[in-house]
Structure formats: structure tokens, C-alpha cells
Symmetry: C2
Subunit: 230 residues, 2 copies
């Protein structure tokens, strides 16, 4: 079926892609608030109403950009982690950390779109959940690999009873890993994005410079919190 695509379908796919490309460029320069359907149409030599044949509303265009953003970030994380030796669990973790930070620094507005405050009428449709979980899947694999290799310090004792078996969706990403470690991994995960958000959103301005070594140090501390031994 895919071979017998009609001419109309082909040009439609092409125009759709051109719209998202131009929109992404506008997003990169103006930010999410400055993205304008009319400006995109103008740049394409189209009339503004024609855009609505491809995206029924501005929010739908934004949603497409969000999904693209999650995929781009997820791919960057996957590639960085895949380049590390399998038994270097700390190195794999740090590779993920730097991949997120580097991507966010290179695409601050796209990062703000996916990890900042929800922009429009706060929707977050279900289409995004597949793309958005790519990075956390990588993270889960690192921890479960490390656990299976015996490279994680066990910490069952410190888990508060009210948290027991409350992390099912997370545990599914880290088979066999005890729940105490899962919660610790979640803490490390939020700390990672907390730092990157602070940095991208300018919260560290006039506080300190030399952010890369500071970030690496902080992420090593998080590796310690998870109990990653090597």
C-alpha cells in the first residue's frame, strides 16, 4: 500500500514536513510563544488558512514539535549511551547525563517546550507517551544491567513502608531491581532534569560559572545515591 501512494498524499506529506521544519526554526529563534501559524504560512508562500488543512490548530502543530523534541532527545541519549562499554555503568549513566544536558543546551527552546511549563491550554495528548519514554528506558536498562551484574549496593532497609509496591510502572523498566533502588533511581532522574532545567532556564546565572564540571560532580553524587559501584 505504501508504494501506491497517490500524488496528493506525497505532496501532503512533503508539505506537512515543510511546515514542521519552518515551525521548528521559528521555535528555535522566537521561542514557543512566538510561533505563529501565519508567519509559517507567509514563509511558505501560502495563505494562512491553508495551514489548517494540515494542522487543525496551533496546539496540534506544537504537539507535533513536542513529539519531535522527545524523539530527538531520546535518540541523542540512546546514541551517547550505546557508545559506552557495557560494564561501565557509571560511565553509561554519565553519558546519559551529558547527552541530556548537551542536547538541552543546543536546543533550549525545544527543551523548554517539552520539560518547561506546559504552554497552551495544558493538554499533553497521549500520542507523546511513546516518544517521551525513550530516555527513561535507557536509564532503566542501565540500572537493571548494573543490578544483574552485582554492581549496585542493596538498600532494602531504607524504603518507607508506604512506598512499597507503588512504583510498578517504574519497576517494569528495571526488571529484578529491588524497589528501594528504583526509588533511588527516580530521585537521580529528577535531579538530572532539575539541574538541566535550572541551567537552561537561567537559574544559575550570577550564581556560579563552570557548569559542566559542577554538573558532572552532581551527577556522580547521584550515581552514589543509586549505589552504582562501577
Amino acid at each position: 500500500m505504501t508504494a501506491s501512494r497517490t500524488a496528493r498524499e506525497r505532496v501532503r506529506a512533503e508539505l506537512t514536513r515543510e511546515i514542521t521544519d519552518i515551525a521548528r526554526r521559528q521555535l528555535a529563534t522566537e521561542g514557543a510563544g512566538g510561533l505563529s501559524l501565519r508567519a509559517v504560512a507567509r514563509e511558505m508562500g501560502m495563505v494562512s488558512s491553508a495551514i489548517y488543512r494540515y494542522f487543525p490548530s496551533r496546539d496540534d502543530l506544537l504537539t507535533a514539535l513536542i513529539i519531535d523534541g522527545y524523539n530527538a532527545l531520546g535518540e541523542a541519549v540512546e546514541r551517547a549511551e550505546a557508545a559506552q562499554p557495557r560494564e561501565g555503568f557509571r560511565r553509561r549513566w554519565l553519558a546519559v547525563c551529558h547527552a541530556v544536558r548537551d542536547w538541552a543546551a543546543a536546543n533550549p527552546h525545544e527543551y523548554a517546550l517539552i520539560y518547561g511549563s506546559p504552554v497552551p491550554g495544558y493538554h499533553a495528548p497521549e500520542d507523546t507517551i511513546e516518544a517521551r519514554s525513550r530516555d527513561v528506558i535507557v536509564m532503566g536498562r542501565i540500572v537493571s544491567d548494573a543490578w544483574r551484574a552485582g554492581a549496585v549496593i542493596a538498600r532494602d532497609a531504607d524504603l518507607p513502608p508506604e512506598l512499597e509496591s507503588k512504583a510498578a510502572n517504574l519497576s517494569a523498566l528495571m526488571p529484578e531491581v529491588p524497589e528501594a533502588i528504583v526509588w533511588r533511581a527516580l530521585s537521580a532522574w529528577t535531579a538530572l532534569y532539575g539541574w538541566v532545567s535550572f541551567e537552561v532556564f537561567g537559574q544559575f546565572n550570577n550564581v556560579f560559572e563552570d557548569r559542566r564540571p559542577a554538573y558532572e560532580h552532581a551527577m556522580r553524587l547521584m550515581a552514589d545515591t543509586m549505589g552504582l559501584a562501577q
Copy 2:
């Protein structure tokens, strides 16, 4: 001088306050993107151009709201921490954590305004730095109090050499505290806001529920990272 305020000055101050109050209500219901000068004017029975006598632009109104937000959050943190016994350093830390989270949950749009992606043309004027540091000052006092009381585990060994004497602005908030602890406190600080942002911005949706005990557990782990002993 303050007593002999002319009638004009008094009504001006009153109207300025009324504008910010209405704007804050609009912010709470519509979010930062939906804040409209014209709508504020409409609700006041004013004509839209009259607002510009009080706030020269929409961004200036937003800046006023940002400063108010920092002050409200800072005050909530200060009050929560002041209610704890002075020698309970962990309790003081956890009180700060919950104060931030509770305030953010009660004022999600205001939180997004000050800790989310920068909304307008990304300015962040200098007027905000005084209000914005109230919470971190509280944090610094907890750590330095704990250090002076001998309730912090020393960790000079693990500080990478490239971070030495690079945290002057932070060390100023925690006199006498060794730099390794200062960096650890910064990690805990970003982890705190990373979690709250994830929660407020919906990043935990469909991942797990029962967020309060999970948050408390994560913040206890951060207390461990800082080395807070009691």
C-alpha cells in the same frame, strides 16, 4: 513623607495594587499565556489604554507578578522553617522541601512563572534577585547551622579540583562550611526543584501516584547526600 501622600498618589497606589490583584487571579486561572491587559482593564471597568499609565508593558506587569511570586514562596519557606526546632536540621530541611512543594501545588501557574520556562522575551530584570534569594538564604542557614553544630559529615576528599573555590557566591550564604558540602547542598537544592517541577508540570502523570511520601523519601536521600546527621 509617607504621611503627606497626596490623594493622587494614594489612588494610584490603590489602582496599581488592584491591577496586580486581578492579574494574579487571571494568572491563576488562565496561566501566564492567557494574561491579557485588556481583560484586566475590562474587569476594572477601565479602558485598556489606561493600564499603560501604571504598567508600561505587559512584561512589566509580569515582572511585578514574578517578584510577588518569589516573595510569596520565600515567605512560605521562611515561615515553615521557623516553626521547626533549631537543632533539628533534617526537620528544618524537610520543612523547606514541603513548603516549596505545597506552595507550588497551591499556585501552579505562579510557580510555572518563576521556575518554568521564561515566558516573554526572556528578560529577568535585576529587580527580582532580592526576592528570589529568600528561599536559598533559608537553605544556606540550615546547612551552616548544622555544620557549626557538628551535625554534617565532612567530605573534603571527593571534591574535584576544578571545582575548588568556584562557589564563592554560594559559600557566602554558608559561612565556614567547606566547599565540598556547599556543592552537595547545591545538588540537593536542584533536586528539590527538579522534583517539584516534574510534579507540577505533570511529568509524573501515569507514572506513579502517592507523590508526597515519595517526595519526602527523595528529600531524605538528599539530606543524606548533604551529610545532615540529625
